[in-house]
Subunit: 403 residues, 2 copies
């Protein structure tokens, strides 16, 4: 256990926004107020990009009602950044931190953010500057190691599940093939959430494709043809990271636009090209007339007025817990352990080392994907269902017995 450390703190939000990353921020803010060791809590505007430029706001002056509005707001209330700091970048941040006597660092983000906290902590150690660096997990992709699941996933999964419920009913009303392209570059968790709203045996999505299981275009088209024959319609959920057996994504093969972000990732979101390509394949090769394709895009991560209660509560707890851990430990990442399931769902938090979360990512385990590689299993549904915090019931009358 570390000694008591007096000084100021910085909190930042990194990477892609989520529906509950602001709840984690509010968790940090409200817990800091309980600890006199921390005098001022600075909010870094646009994450590390703001830290190097000394761009901070004072989070001590925000009233409780505003904090509740922040916690309920999607996206990153402090602004975000896609910068991926190296040791030199972090040395500049440490210089700024020394000027402001910052001794606590809370960084809400994905695996890159855990890595940033790790580098920052290491660099500070080199100059004998004592700082406590903590990572608070968030992703819509649910791809962090160690933790059972990530804050942000449940809310994004709820958005996707409700979208597919509506879309499947729409497809019943006006039958045809409907393709929905969902977020998830390497991990299929968010695409898998398309299955969570299924209530009737013949509800869609009838096919779900995740990046963990490469599939050829021939196999894809054969699946669609079979499902269309069986149901006289077909709803398909496809991950934006869907790839062929050579592990190249379909989007990559298509992309004329080779724009990459600072992390070396190709841009998959914010374009309808994959969806339109797949629709064209189905129309052209299967001769099905009514084929529609939607790409859900950013709505999945930043939709206002829709949060999973379980998710938003856990996100806030993770923020609070990071501050509590910082009173005792030098560094760490907050992780979630599931302690109850189904209707008795419960979770507790624990600390893991930053290096356990940094840089690496998690994929869907095999037991969550069906043998055919075109759907999810009951094990997945049992895993994910408690995280969305309930889904509406729907009714379709068109399949009732004719009179």
């Amino acid at each position: 256990m570390a000694e008591s450390l007096k000084g100021n703190a910085v909190v930042g939000q990194s990477g892609g926004p989520t529906g509950v990353i602001n709840a984690s921020l509010v968790g940090v803010i409200e817990e800091v107020r309980k600890h006199p060791e921390i005098e001022t809590l600075y909010g870094a505007v646009h994450a590390v990009a703001g830290m190097v430029k000394d761009d901070f706001i004072d989070l001590g002056k925000i009233d409780a009602a505003t904090l509740e509005t922040v916690a309920a707001s999607p996206s990153s209330a402090l602004g975000s950044s896609r910068d991926k700091p190296d040791a030199d970048y972090c040395r500049k941040i440490i210089e700024v931190f020394k000027e402001r006597n910052v001794r606590y660092f809370f960084y809400i983000g994905g695996n890159d953010s855990a890595n940033t906290a790790h580098i920052l902590n290491t660099v500070a150690d080199e100059t004998n500057y004592n700082i406590r660096a903590f990572h608070v997990p968030k992703t819509v992709d649910n791809d962090l190691l160690v933790t059972d699941h990530c804050p942000g996933y449940g809310t994004a999964a709820k958005f996707v599940a409700q979208a597919l419920m509506g879309d499947d009913l729409d497809n019943r009303a006006l039958p045809g093939v409907k393709i929905d392209v969902l977020m998830g570059r390497h991990a299929g968790f968010l695409t898998a959430a398309a299955a969570l709203g299924k209530q009737r045996d013949d509800d869609g999505p009838h096919l779900i494709y995740v990046p963990e299981r490469p599939v050829s275009m021939d196999k894809f088209l054969a699946d669609v043809e079979a499902a269309y024959k069986k149901y006289n319609r077909c709803v398909i959920a496809v991950s934006e990271g869907m790839c062929d057996h050579d592990h190249k994504t379909w989007a990559e093969k298509l992309a004329e636009n080779e724009e990459r972000d600072a992390h070396g990732n190709i841009q998959l979101s914010g374009t309808g090209a994959l969806a339109d390509f797949l629709a064209g394949q189905i129309k052209g090769k299967l001769k099905i007339k009514r084929v529609r394709a939607d790409t859900f895009g950013y709505l999945q991560r930043s939709y206002a007025g829709l949060q999973s209660k379980v998710d938003v509560d856990e996100a806030r707890r993770c923020g609070r817990q990071a501050v509590k851990y910082a009173m005792e430990f030098d560094s760490g990442s907050v992780a979630i352990k599931r302690t109850g399931d189904g209707a008795a769902y419960a979770a507790e938090l624990f600390r893991t080392e930053l290096k356990n979360v940094a840089e690496k990512t998690k994929s869907m385990p095999d037991e969550f994907i069906n043998a055919d590689g075109n759907g999810v299993t009951d094990a997945y549904v049992q895993y994910a269902m408690p995280l969305v915090g309930g889904l509406p019931k729907t009714e379709y009358l068109g399949t009732y017995p004719k009179v």
Copy 2:
């Protein structure tokens, strides 16, 4: 006033689904149960396409709890059709109706549905078959004549407003240009709803384009450049029906796929081509690096678990009212008259002739669009805001004063 008429009734749902068309259906069902003149209420499966095939279910046997689930479910619970019946088609329907002694016809849909009801009524008259034909309005486009607004619009507008609220906060967090392509072939009402969630002076969308105001690509790019310069970011809402001064839509000019539906309409929804094209223009000609584009697609009309309370209540009232009118009149369409505004919003229903609603469509009035043709006015916001039944409050901290 018409004499009392005993017999059975048929109800159907036509055209594109909405979030509350099932509430109108439930309104018809529950009101019919109060009127002994109507013995059996048949639900036509897939609208007129089911009527000619004699595909009906018995709506008298559905319990009250299931009806509430139906009313809360998006899409068309009876199934829909894009068929546009002519007199011959309607004569076949009348033959089926005679077999089943159907004397009441309730058709929930847009202007094409009002026209179908009108033709059906006329054809029945020709053969001296007494039938009462009523139209219950629904569209997400809000483009029906006579009525102040259409059931279905408020819920779709709520979805769009909350999407743009989240998207604008996302764009604040990771600045760039964001384009959202929204539904609305000829009427810009749904695209205009993008403005309803604006809470801060510099909130997006910063530019809104509706089909009522043709705009050249040069003007569009100049607008984007100016907004980007002013805000260091730019969120743009574009109707899928956006057109140039020659009144050809941008999508039409682009569309390689010339698929048209039975009404002669070109397919605009279900493709990301327009959004991707506009993003390419901005990247190429304005040299802005981070440009993203989403096409909202069918989520706008069939999202589960999200309804405007005002809208769903009015949709149900319209269904009930159609049945009440059918006890007194030969035919008609239910319309809404606004009798109070703002916090005192209220509406009452009235009957109009089918021919007043059939075939024609309404556009956004001039006073709802700004002089520059790239935004909406306060008059529009005052018109539309009561219909969405409230929007969440959000908070962004990144613009707070630096310390």
